[in-house]
């Protein structure tokens, strides 16, 4: 990401920046909780992933793309997106350990080894939820970055013409 965009490094006012600094960690924590406890409470990979993407989008909007581009770029997002999609497929393929596609290989039915309402109660559902959460979050973040990166340049191009 090139830091030569005319409005790139500015971001928003100090009020927005300070609020973002305080709030972002909690939003990400909330998203992660939604993802990890998707098999216990309402939510799951998709909703949690969107919340995480929204937290990143908040950073990009508040601090500007130049600063945000130091730790997450469109390339990073798309790499994580693809990796998580592959990981979800891999969880499904690992089901062949138990005999069929997407078999819950970490938790044999009626095993009674795990207590309900706990994090590790549902076996491979936790892995699938994590993979989907990462996939959706990073995918949407990548689209957001692509939109916000290319828009000012196009306006600049229109201005020159």
């Amino acid at each position: 990401m090139t830091p030569h965009s005319p409005r790139g490094g500015s971001g928003m006012t100090i009020i927005v920046k300070s609020t973002t600094r305080i709030v972002t960690a909690f939003i990400m924590l909330f998203g992660t909780t939604i993802v990890l406890y998707g098999h216990v409470t309402p939510g799951g990979g998709f909703a949690g992933g969107v919340i995480i993407a929204a937290a990143f989008a908040l950073i990009v909007l508040a601090f500007g793309k130049t600063l945000a581009g130091r730790f997450v770029t469109g390339t990073t997002a798309s790499v994580w997106d693809s990796a998580a999609a592959t990981a979800f497929l891999f969880v499904g393929v690992l089901g062949y350990l138990g005999g069929c596609f997407f078999w819950n290989f970490l938790r044999p039915p009626q095993s009674g080894r795990f207590t309900l309402f706990k994090l590790y109660s549902a076996g491979s559902i936790l892995l699938s939820n994590t993979a989907i959460g990462m996939k959706v979050g990073m995918g949407l973040l990548g689209v957001f970055l692509a939109l916000s990166v290319f828009r000012p340049r196009r306006e600049e191009g229109e201005g020159h013409e």
Binding site: I34, G38, H39, V40, T41, P42, G43, G44, G45, F46, A47, V50, I51, A53, A54, A57, L61, G74, S78, D81, S82, A85, F88, L89, G92, F101, F102, N104, R107, P109, Q110, F114, L116, F117, S121, A122, G123, S124, I125, S128, N129, I132, K135, G139, L140, G142, V143, F144, A146, L147, S148, V149, F150, R151, R153, R154, E156, G157, H160, E161
Partner: protein, 189 residues
């Protein structure tokens, strides 16, 4: 489901239809986006009243993110497309198609289960596989959120298909946006 629920649902439905009309008809794009967001939040309330918190949560967060995306894109822009009044033949054709579709919809919906008696509850007369999902989900998967148990265990293959659709759409978005970016970059440098 209490006695008040149908009233609330109809009110929300009216609100959503109103919001949709505003979103289509208004010239200011920002107002249209906000009206669309109101429709989305109304839909999430409908899900909440129908007892589907998973869907309501997903709808709310997706709505927020999409609203941010769209406001970011359309702020300070006007809808510059001109409105041409459509010809009589076109209006007639649209009315005809709408009538046919409406007739088919009424015929199809009269065969559906009545509102408020879902397939999952049919157990005594005709046991369904959906009811087996409800009964066996906790014992078979350990997931106390049965929606997740169905999505990621019983029907995980469907979810893989959905994930593939999302992946493909995001790749498509990348392709479209990247092409614009490259052309602009070549033009400015």
């Amino acid at each position: 489901m209490s006695d008040l629920t149908p009233v609330v649902l109809y009110a929300l439905l009216g609100f959503m239809i109103l919001g949709s009309i505003v979103a289509v008809e208004i010239a200011d794009l920002l107002s249209a986006v906000i009206a669309m967001g109101a429709v989305g939040f109304g839909l999430s309330l409908v899900y909440l009243f129908l007892g589907a918190p998973d869907l309501a949560l997903t709808q709310v967060v997706v709505e927020i993110l999409i609203l941010v995306f769209l406001i970011r894109l359309v702020v300070q822009r006007k809808d510059t497309t001109e409105q041409h009044p459509p010809g009589a033949l076109l209006v007639g054709g649209i009315m005809l198609v709408m009538g046919v579709v409406l007739t088919i919809m009424v015929m199809a919906f009269s065969d559906m289960h009545p509102f408020g008696s879902p397939l999952f509850s049919r157990t005594a007369a005709a046991p369904t596989i959906a009811f087996d999902y409800l009964r066996e989900a906790v014992a078979q998967t350990g997931a106390t959120n049965i929606v997740t148990a169905i999505l990621l265990d019983f029907r995980a293959y469907d979810t893989l298909g959905e994930a593939t659709v999302i992946f493909a759409s995001i790749v498509g978005a990348y392709a479209v946006l990247r092409r614009v970016g490259r052309i602009s970059k070549g033009g400015t440098e």
